[in-house]
């Protein structure tokens, strides 16, 4: 079988690796529009922030392709598909026959049609990232257009490099697709404290030499303008080949298009009415498609979306339907804006259908997994939001400890036994140890035994 993959980004490269893992024999050719080895787009924000170096985001080494007998044709975009002949054609005229074709063309950044926009740099590829970094070196002030996930990460990253940043956002609050109003405000306040000026409810009318002119004429000064205005699926190739395309290339539960020999995965694909823009669904799709292509029976049933911001000193996780109100769901909320903390649970039919966690929290892992698995939400909602809150109080003082409480676990000695031992004349730890073996195992109960003996002595007015 000859497998051709169009696109060597996160979805395409993953699919190639997944297929090769399952089948050592299938002939694989992958075409990538970018000339470099595939890299992890999720980590570009870290590169922008300086917490990862560009070489640290590479997903597969060039040597991997040799070792796994995969032909990678990089820097060579595919320009058309000839379905009758069963081959793809590249920009430089190469024809590559396929038995199975996978489209993983991804998406392109949305560039607002405003004058001077060519002065701005979109934030999408590793090249973009490097361009932004070069420009940032000499810059005094930056503007980021777009306050979605990527825009927030870019703004935080640039601010972390010491560059004053203005973040412009059209909607009334940041990350409005993931956050409710209050979470958006708390996030804005947190970012403001980190050197990002937030302007919501505004849009750029033009990109000028010295910044951005907002609608209404007000200027936002900058010598670096970064665009993070969302993405649009790249579906032209599929549409021209006559495949069904709506917002993305339409696929079924096997990730097959309406041509059974052609699959589509990742940001260019539309499954059950949804085009996903995150990596987790793309990788889930890659695994299912790889399984189907190699003769398996996996099915893709959609993905649950968890958005996790990658920005230093800003912990934010948002998942599912965060904007439901009390009319449609049970909402549990805790807000402490002074500390940059906001936590929200959205529960319907006893299941967690949405959550927002802003600020450091041990709850994030538990809630993400509860959301992912669709498990029942425990009755104690507060304990979910504040892990440790419901833990039984520890009897710290020997006075409060019941006689039945085990003091020395290693030798199974209770407070009552220590008391009995004291009553029989033991007046120090050594005496108790000799009689009960308490403290002779791991030794960590020594303080507790000392405390109990001391307290008993005190009770009786005995000085040791």
């Amino acid at each position: 079988m000859r497998l051709v993959v169009v696109g060597n980004g996160m979805a395409g490269s993953r699919l190639v690796a997944e297929v090769r893992e399952r089948d050592p024999d299938v002939r694989i050719t992958v075409f990538g529009a970018e000339a470099c080895a595939p890299y992890n787009r999720v980590l570009l924000s870290n590169v922008l922030a300086g917490t990862s170096r560009p070489e640290q985001v590479r997903l597969l080494d060039p040597s991997w392709y040799r070792a796994h007998r995969v032909e990678a044709v990089l820097g060579s975009p595919v320009v058309s598909i000839d379905r009758d002949a069963g081959h793809v054609v590249t920009g430089d005229g190469r024809r590559e026959p396929y038995d199975v074709l996978v489209l993983a063309t991804g998406s392109e950044p949305v560039v607002p049609p405003v004058p001077g926009v060519e002065r701005a740099i979109p934030f999408r590829t590793l090249d973009d990232c490097e361009r932004i970094l070069r420009a940032a070196e000499g810059a005094r002030r930056a503007v980021v257009v777009g306050g979605g996930l990527l825009g927030v990460e870019a703004a935080r990253g640039l601010a972390g490099r010491g560059l004053p940043v203005t973040l412009l956002h059209l909607a009334g609050h940041l990350m409005e697709r993931q956050l409710d109003v209050e979470a958006g405000l708390v996030l804005g306040e947190t970012l403001a404290g980190l050197g990002v000026e937030i302007r919501t409810g505004v849009s750029a009318e033009a990109v000028l030499e010295d910044g951005v002119r907002l609608t209404g004429g007000e200027p936002a000064e900058a010598d670096l303008v970064v665009l993070a205005c969302g993405v649009r699926p790249l579906t032209g190739l599929a549409a021209e080949a006559g495949l069904e395309v709506r917002r993305g290339v339409v696929v079924d539960d096997e990730l097959r298009t309406d041509d059974p020999s052609i699959f589509a995965i990742g940001e260019c694909a539309e499954h059950d009415g949804t085009v996903y823009g995150l990596v987790a669904p793309a990788w889930e799709q890659a695994a299912v498609a790889a399984d189907v292509i190699t003769g398996g029976k996996a099915l893709y049933r959609g993905s649950r979306l968890v958005t996790r911001l990658k920005a230093r000193s800003v912990e934010l996780a948002a998942m599912g339907e965060t904007q439901l109100t009390e009319e449609d769901a049970e909402v549990v909320r805790f807000s402490h804006r002074a500390r940059g903390t906001y936590r929200k649970l959205v529960i319907r039919d006893g299941r967690l259908v949405g959550a927002i966690l802003l600020g450091e929290s041990d709850a994030v892992g538990t809630l993400t997994q509860l959301f992912d698995r669709g498990g029942p939400v425990p009755g104690d909602r507060a304990g979910l939001l504040f892990p440790g809150l419901s833990a039984a109080p520890v009897a710290g003082s020997p006075v409060l400890m019941p006689d039945a409480a085990t003091v020395c676990r290693c030798n199974d000695v209770t407070k009552g036994q220590i008391r009995a031992c004291w009553e029989a004349g033991a007046r120090d730890v050594a005496g108790v140890a000799a009689a009960t073996r308490a403290t002779t195992g791991c030794g960590t109960c020594r303080d507790a035994v000392e405390g109990i003996v001391g307290w008993l002595c005190e009770q009786e007015g005995i000085t040791v």
Binding site: Y39, N40, V42, L43, N46, T51, S52, Q56, V57, R58, L59, L60, D61, W64, A280, V306, R308, K310, E315, E360, S361, D362, V364, G365, T366, T368, Q369, L370, D372, R373, G375, P376, P378, G379, D380, G383, S390, A391, A392, R409, C410, N411, D412, R437, T440, G441, C442, G443, T444
Partner: protein, 683 residues
Amino acid sequence: MTAGRTHKTDKTHKTHCPYCALQCGMEIGTGREIRITPRTDVPANASGALCQKGWTAAELLTNGSRLTTPLLHGEPVAWEAALDHVAARLSEIRAEHGPDAVAVFGGGGLTNEKAYTLGKFARVALGTSQIDYNGRFCMSSAAAASIRAFGMDRGLPFPVTDLAGADVVLLAGANVAETMPPFVRHLEGPRAIVVDPRRTPTARRAWLHLQPAPGTDLALALGLLHLVVAEGLVDEAYVAGRTSGFEEVRTSLASWWPERVERITGVPVYRMRQAVRALAAAGRAYVLTGRGVEQHAKGTDTVTAFVNLALALGLPGRHGSGYGCLTGQGNGQGGREHGQKADQLPGYRRIDDPAARAHVAGVWGVAPESLPGPGRSAYELLDALGTPGGPRALLVFGSNPLVSAPASERVAGRLAGLDLLVVCDVVLSETAARADVVFPVTQWAEETGTMTNLEGRVLLRRRAVEPPDGVRSDLEVIAELAARLGHRFPSRPREVFDELRRASAGGAADYSGITYERVEAGPGVFWPCPEPGHPGTPRPFLDRFATPDGRARFVPVGHRPPAEEPDEDYPLHLTTGRVLAHYQSGAQTRRIAPLVRAAPEPFVELHPDLAERLGIRPGDVVRVSSRRGEDRAPARISDAVRRDTVFMPFHWEGVNRLTNPALDPMSRMPEFKVCAVRVERDS
């Protein structure tokens, strides 16, 4: 000799504890009653510590349930008759079905002398390839990963006392406060980071507890290593000078960014960051793994991921830092070195290595080509019993697989299908109770032999008390059977040890310079010790690792989910582990009154939220079922366990009916530590 016990009067004998791999030093005082006191000249417990198991160990020697006569189909029988019967049946089965129709199952509690003799007995007297042991369920993943990374597997490649000088110790899947309490004293100085799905007594005392979902430790290790790289904390000079293969690992880490790992493991990113920063900031640090991360179908790769973490931080092979695994059973270290493992010959040699075969065959006085090749691993061996092409007879020494093997009902069925089951044990264990023939054997303080503790330190236990009438040592049983099969085997421990020394010479675990006298003169001798004048090797990796080029090897590994994940029918994780009062299958400790008082019965530990949802109150009998079987035990409600997980201790028959025999492709370790279960109140 008269009936009952005769002890030399009012003498004390230096020995070591009969239980775990720490091998605490103890003195046995034999007067009117046998008394145990801790020794202060053994580094493992030099502070004079013992746990309750150690303190009460004397009861093992006086216990009323001790076997003192061989049993044939449950009836007492004379030794000669029992030995003759077994030898005759073995010969018949061999004649009819070939040598591989007889299998041997050993144990990690056996002395080095016994482990060695058992391997020789299988290969020489029985001519079978079918030998493995319960250490496969214990140390195999750590062993495979250590050999892959360092070229050699010595649990702790440093004295245990080195730990006390560390700034930070990361314990991954190790609950030392319950499994080897005196060990905790070595951790009084360092800050501990504990990785465990349960807030165990060890985790409670930790500076930082990372609580991943069962079966996701591998992802966690990858996330930690990702952060080490991302935050520029790699010890680049060490990586360049002492390791190979880092670049491929570095690339593989791009797929394991911390936010992804958080979603898989449930461990918050900022907690991972705390752990990594503490480890990197430490001048001296250790990464230690235990069964919690090793007993998985991906245990070898999980250990590898933790080894990679230690290597990136520049820890292994440096004085005061390192990686180590915490061996479980008393002689778990020595037991995996001397040939009772399916793929091994003495001296930690590979059975498929022609040079190793030639050397060992020379010591044994047989032709190298007469030695069988590698056999089935422990679970595969048990699962093949009585099946077409599988063994028809099984000899069990120092193990209770009916309780300790995964999918134990299936294993029980296999045992029932055997033509002959022979068990050597001290008491009538669950497995012994099913045997055609049971040989009552000596134990611990009644016999002499060497043990190699978790540090790779060879220790000597000398006979301190007279064994009860009617019992013989495993070595004698093997020698008697070998004699009946036409082979002369030594049965005196020192004679066996001297042969073991020759057989191990030149191997990774070289004991040739170790003698009983040397072991007794000091607190043991560290292997490798290749000649009589050699001081032993407390820290084998300081100058070079045991790989051909002397460099430690980074190996790229990736996370994958447990073999069985929760679903609608079986919505919870089950994880299993130890309680302080008991040891392994409980065959010993469930017969000691104070230990039974401390922990009388198994239990199901579940989170209060889960208990509330299921309508379970403390003490309610709970039915836990998996695809393989079910078990019942009273509920214990505790928020120490995750809401999605229940915990059961494995010292009683039952819990392993539930566990999953999915095997690690490399180590053949079963997935004891995670499977999917359903939990209900038993009506």
